[in-house]
Symmetry: C2
Subunit: 217 residues, 2 copies
Amino acid sequence: MAETDIIPRATAQRLPIYQHHLKSLQDAGEKSTSSQEIALALKFDPATVRRDFSFFGELGKRGLGYKIDALVEFFAQKLNDVKQNNVILVGAGNIGSALAKFNFYTADNVNVVAAFDINPAVTVVNDEDKQIPVYSMGDLVAKNKEIGAEFAILAVPESAAQEATDVLVEAGIKGILNFTPLRVNVPKDVFTQNVDLTREMQSLIYFVDNKDSIKSI
Amino acid sequence: MAETDIIPRATAQRLPIYQHHLKSLQDAGEKSTSSQEIALALKFDPATVRRDFSFFGELGKRGLGYKIDALVEFFAQKLNDVKQNNVILVGAGNIGSALAKFNFYTADNVNVVAAFDINPAVTVVNDEDKQIPVYSMGDLVAKNKEIGAEFAILAVPESAAQEATDVLVEAGIKGILNFTPLRVNVPKDVFTQNVDLTREMQSLIYFVDNKDSIKSI
């Protein structure tokens, strides 16, 4: 299967969305689909879907539709969804604790294995299945030498976000899911995904209040 | 202040981010800033910042920098942050309950006033400040006639997402913060913002695993 080596970040962002949708179709017993159908279901532009898929080589004969089983297999490889990813949580407060218990839907490749907090009164995050130990922030670098996690969920107050990030970088973390509104500074080889809940809510309010003055581009 | 009437959705999405950053500068006693500095702090392209600001008329003399107080005032008006927005929560599970307690940082314009769940065993979501009543899903339309909320946080299982959305639309909800991975169908006058936590985590893993084959565009 011929592939372009370099794909745009925006395309990469959509991979898990495609895979999730294709798995739903597969579970429903569907055998084939089209870029048109995918676009409709995911509220994407059909041209976006076709362009994205063009980065992954010849995934199916367009005229006859894409073969779902082959696509699921292909994306599973791309997303390497058999690799187990250890994740540490930093900030075991309200949202952090909920995220530690979150099953990331059907993603069996994400394991929240430990949490860190400055508050020593917090001792464990209860989960239905497992207890997640909560350690002191001061132990993070040493503990992660044992754990070897590459990923972290950052759910500390904004004022502590950069300092906590610096500790994560020192501990060898390569990917940070950042729930603080601060755009933290990281070295080039560390990735961040920003999930800013306040911003999402404020944008939503703005869209509703200004629905006649928004271009949908 | 001359303004373009129509602004792109992507620009509108960034408004709360600008405002949050400018308020931090204001709190720190800063008086002026530049598109370059804003871009650096927010990890945006400077051209993006300048283009965004161009939609909002003449906000300051570029050569001398933007005046922070004036910008904060201007964005506060744009974002109408004195308007109080009632929000209902649908799905009072793990993440939903955490979101109901979430203070959306310093956004004083968001009030989660009621929650709805199919599980009658759930009765209240405890918050530090207030108790949020939890009603049965079947009462949502009638209850929202009293409450008059325009916004909802959707945190139900994916399999229930479209059905719950249909109820929200019937109840007059105009904006949905959607935490399910389903891209729900809504009428044209209803807005959705998708916060798909699994997708964010899977994208992050993909970026770290494929760091040499991602274009940052």
